[in-house]
Symmetry: C2
Subunit: 106 residues, 2 copies
C-alpha cells in the first residue's frame, strides 16, 4: 500500500483529525487498526494518511460530505469516538474540508 | 505552543502536505525549522500541525486562498520547494482545501 493516498481529481472531502494522546496504550493500537480496516470498507472511502510523533495527524479522504458523515455515524466508530474522548485523547480537533486542488512533484 | 492549531471559526483554508522522505538529512531539518518560522510571519497564517513517521503529514492553516497562495510564492519557500523536489522527497502530494466545519472534545 502506498503511504500517500491515491485520491481522484478534486473535489473530494478531507477529514483532518489532529490529536494528542494520553499516556499508555489502553487498547488504543488495536482500536486504531480496527478502525482503519473498517473505514476502508465504507462507501465513498478514498484513502487515509497518518503520522504521529508529539501530535498525531490523520487525514481520511472521502468522495463527498455524505460519505464522510456516514463514517462518523458507523456504530463501532461511535464507540471508538466515545472511548477516545474518555480514555485515549488528551485533546483533539476534527476539521472537515473540501479539497479544491491538488498536485504532486511532476 | 499548543500542538493543535488554535484556528478560528470556519471557513478557513487547510494546505495538506503529505510526503515521503529520501534517506539522510541533507539539510532537511534546518530547512524545515526555517520554513516553519517563515510561515508564521506570513499574512493570513493561522497555525500548523505536523507529524512524521513512515510518512509526513503537515497541515498549515490560512485565513483564505489568497494567503495560502502567497505563501507558496514566497521566495525562500520556492527555493525549498525546488530542493524538496530534487533532494528531500521521494514523493509528495499537496492538497488545498476549505475547512467548512470543525469540532473538538467538548
Amino acid at each position: 500500500m502506498s503511504l500517500i493516498a491515491d485520491t481522484p481529481e478534486p473535489p473530494y472531502v478531507a477529514v483532518i483529525f489532529t490529536s494528542v494522546r494520553t499516556d499508555g496504550d489502553q487498547g488504543y493500537a488495536a482500536m486504531a487498526t480496527r478502525m482503519d480496516e473498517l473505514a476502508r470498507d465504507q462507501p465513498g472511502y478514498l484513502g487515509i494518511e497518518a503520522a504521529r510523533d508529539d501530535v498525531g495527524v490523520t487525514v481520511s479522504y472521502w468522495a463527498d460530505q455524505e460519505s464522510a458523515r456516514a463514517w462518523k455515524q458507523v456504530a463501532a466508530h461511535l464507540v471508538a469516538q466515545q472511548r477516545g474522548r474518555e480514555v485515549w485523547y488528551r485533546d483533539y480537533r476534527v476539521r472537515v474540508a473540501t479539497v479544491e486542488r491538488d498536485y504532486g512533484p511532476s
